[in-house]
Structure formats: C-alpha cells, structure tokens
Amino acid sequence: MADYKPNEMMTVAAARALKNDDVCFVGIGQPSAACNLARLTHAPNITLIYESGTLATKPNILPLSIGDGELCETALTTVSVPEMFRYWLQGGRIKVGFLGGAQIDRFANLNTTVVGPYDKPKVRLPGGGGAPEIATSCGEIFIIMAQGKRSFVDKLDFVTSIGHVSGGDSRAKLGVKTKGPTKLITDLAMLEPDPETKEMTVVSIHPGVTREQIQENSGWPIKFAAKVGETPPPTQRELEVLRDLHAQTNRAHAEAA
C-alpha cells in the first residue's frame, strides 16, 4: 500500500464520489482538488462549474482563487456572475455542490461566518459567499472537511448554510426540495445522513483509523452505521495524479509571483 497523508485520503475519497456525468459546482481548495482529480482519473467528462461564471472548465493547474484565468481559458464559455447564480445555480442545473466550512454540526449545517457572537466575534471568518444558496439549490451536497473538536461542534456559532437543519423532515418543511448533504468526507471517515434522523453517520472508515479517533475529533457523540466499511486506500495512480496536480499548481503559482 502506498504511503499517503490523511488529507490525500480525504481528497481521493471525495473524488471517487463523483461520476462522469455529474455537473458540479466547485469551491476553492479541497473541493477543487477533488473535482479535478476525478476529472483526471475516472470521470473525464465531468462538468465543473466555478462560481466566477466558468462553465465546463478543465484547468491544468488548480486555481488559487475562484476566478483564475486558467479556469476561463479552459472553459466551454464564461457567463456573468448574475447569470451564474440565476440561470445556473437557482435554475436547478447543478447536480452536486461541494462545500466546506469552519464548523459543522451533526446535521451538516455549516458555519463560515464567525466564531463567537456575530456582533463581537472572536474570529471573523470570510462569510457565506455562495454557500447559502448552493446548499439549497444543488441537487445534493458533498462536504469535505478535516475533523477536529473545533470544527465538528455540538452547536454552531452561526448557521451560514443549512444541511439537514434539525434533522428528520425539518429541511423539507422549509420548502427546500433538494437532498442536502448526502456525503461528508473527512480525513478519517465517510459519513452519510441516517435515512430517518438525517444525522450524519459514519458509513466507512479510512484505513488505519479507529472509531475512537473519529469520536475524539468530534464535538458530539458520533453515530456509526450498522454496517461500517473500510475506505479503500488511494491507489498508486490516484496519488500520482493528485500529487502531480499539486506540484504543477505550486510551480505555476511560484512562477507568477
């Protein structure tokens, strides 16, 4: 088995969740790496959309920001940002939205706004950006986040974008027709919503990780599915492509400086 980092396992697991015919709204960072890894391995025809307006883009290096020139140059076309949010996102044309955040709770609601009170924050985070409407307009949501007591919390300081709200049918009761978070991919495990309670539940554990580790890195008593699998480790090819993508990206970003 190849030697790899938990972070690489997380990116690879996220990439595998994507299919060749998916239309995917991509955020910067881990989601962008996962989506492009999928495109460069098992899903060559996946459609990647960045909120800067680039439709069906095929970057050779990972963008540092959501609107790098590389995205536009390799896109089928680029639309204005109002059009992106109106015709494409709100229009219901995106199947999978990828989100991350600073804090997540057991129902996969996310906080990217503040740590502490809104009016007197301990840490002011960047804010919601596209997330509030990505969370409700995309067919389903994949969340990619490294685990830890500070990020997997019992109660969010601020609900920037909703997941399964307070569980059960509470999301649907708000009039939202999309599925919400169907996968939460961490550096330790894969979680999916319980069919009834909608609480995010461990369905697969990454190789070498224990249940105790997962619990220690979560701020609530974590649920495990009746049948928990082991995530297949990254293949040699997955690691090569991912590392190559990062290497090319680092070279390109250094050159530009």
């Binding site: 959501i66 609107g67 204005s80 109002p82 809104y118 804010g127 409700t136 609900v159």
Partner: protein, 286 residues
C-alpha cells in the same frame, strides 16, 4: 457620457467622502490602481460594496477610508484571512466597521436589479440560515401565482462604480472579456463611474457580435492605467500574481508592517507604478 481623464482627476471628481462605492472585480480585473488613488486622496466614511472584498478593500479599510461594508465573502482567496478587515471588525481598528452581510446570490441579484432600474430583487434564497437574523435588509415577498415565499433585497444603487477593463476606444466604449463578474451591472447600477483600462485604442477589436461592451454614454471617467489590476489579472494582458496574494498575508498581519508597505508602495507613488506589470500575452480566444 464618457470622459477620458487622468486617474487623480477621475477619482477627485467621482468619489466623495461618505459615498457608497463599489470597486468590483471577481478575482479578475480588480481595480487596484484606482483603489490606491482613493487611499492617496484620503477619502473618508465610505460605504464599500463588493461581493468579494479582498486585498484592495483590506487596504482601504486599514487606511481608515471605510465606515461600512456591504459584502458576501471577505477573504484572501486560497490564502486565508484579510487581517485589516478582521482587525476592523474584531477590534474596531482604525475605526469601527459596520457590516451589511449577504450571500453571493443576493449580491449578484442586487446588482442585477440595480442595473435593471428596479427597487428590489427577488430570488430563491436565504432559507433556514442565520444571515436574515443579522441583516434587516433581507425580507420576503410572496409569489402571487404559486404562493411561494421568495427572498427580497434592495437593489444596489451605488453612488460610484469603479472597475478595470481591458480596453476602451476613444469615444469611451469599454470592452470586457473573460471572467465578467458583476462589473457591467455595477456600472449600470451606479450614478457615476470610473473605468480604468489596460489601453485606449482607436477601435475596439471585432471580437464577437455579442461582445460585452459598456457604451460610452453609460460610462463616466475612462482612464488608461496599464497594469492597473495588478496583482489581480487582465485576461489577455497579464496573469494573476498569486505569489503577491500569499505575500499579502505577512504584509498585512501587523498594523506596522501594513503601514510601512502602504507608505512605500501607495502613498508615495502614483498610478504609473502599475505600468511595470502590464504586458500582453497570448489570449485563448485570439
């Protein structure tokens, strides 16, 4: 009606203390040179609007030009926090910063409605989250046909839009290509505008029958500032300087290092310093 002028004239005449100003740019074509000129002219008590406030807003905020920020995502993309923005919010330095916080969808719709001359925008959004609890501008409207409740927000109608574009012709028609952001909408929604461009040309290139053009009679000041988007980029001219975005993290972390940098690179310089970044490289569509 477009008027071709110098950057200092343009900012002097278009941007006043207390104005609501949108310096827009979505990663691409961020009007850094124009932002520096606002700092140099010492504008005060500005309300700044922008979907994605980044380095130039960090600079304006850190220099004490800004009392209010209307935004949806404030960070250094791919790098981390904006330290001057955080210092203003968390510690009130150099002055208190009032926030009006939105989602991207809301901001994009608000510009679109402003460009369309409407008083408000409606969209499907702000469902279930906490932003409506901290922003009183977010209301609800009921669709008279389906009964669905939609989010409503006031249109953006800035006093001034400031954008950077690739080219204008001598009449002041402005052409934008690539990642378009909300710049066209911002100019159309605003009472006044300043457009810096990489070059003023005799005639706009025949790029497409449907090229994105702001006709001269919708534009205020047009100023040639080659390199004026740096460290942001101008598609077809120069790439984004991702390295500087990373450097900014260290420069801006402390008040002192920030001030030193601003004095050296902004207060004691003029827009001509941007020219060294200007160049023309091959364009995908050419």
């Amino acid at each position: 009606m477009a008027r071709i002028s110098s950057l200092s004239e343009a900012i002097q005449s278009a941007v006043r203390d207390g104005d609501t100003v949108a310096l827009e740019g979505f990663t691409h074509l961020i009007p850094h040179a124009a932002g520096h000129e606002i700092v140099r002219q010492g504008r005060k008590e500005l309300t700044l609007i922008r979907m994605t406030p980044d380095l130039i807003y960090d600079q304006l905020i850190g220099m004490g030009c800004v009392s209010r920020l209307v935004f949806s995502w404030g960070g250094n993309p791919g790098v981390g926090s904006l330290h001057r923005l955080r210092d203003a919010i968390e510690n009130g330095w150099p002055q208190k910063l009032e926030l009006e916080e939105h989602s991207h969808a809301a901001m994009a719709n608000a510009y679109e409605a402003g460009a369309a001359g409407l008083p408000c925008a409606i969209f499907r959004g702000y469902i279930g989250g906490d932003l409506p609890k901290v922003n009183s501008k977010i209301k609800r409207v009921t669709c008279p046909f389906t009964g669905e409740e939609l989010a409503a927000i006031p249109a953006h109608r800035p006093d001034v839009a400031v954008i950077h574009a690739q080219r204008a012709d001598k009449a002041g028609n402005v052409m934008i290509e690539g990642v378009l952001g909300v710049q066209k909408e911002a100019v159309l929604a605003s009472k006044r505008s300043v457009v810096t461009v990489e070059e003023i040309v005799d005639e706009l290139p025949e790029r497409s029958l449907n090229a994105v053009v702001l006709p001269h009679w919708t534009v205020g000041h047009v100023v040639e500032v080659p390199g004026g988007a740096w460290p942001s980029y101008a598609q077809g001219y120069y790439p984004r300087n991702n390295g500087f975005y990373k450097e900014w993290d260290a420069i801006s972390r402390e008040r002192d290092s920030f001030h030193t940098w601003m004095k050296e690179n902004v207060l004691s310089k003029g827009p001509e310093v941007f020219a060294k970044y200007a160049r023309k490289h091959r364009m995908a569509a050419e």
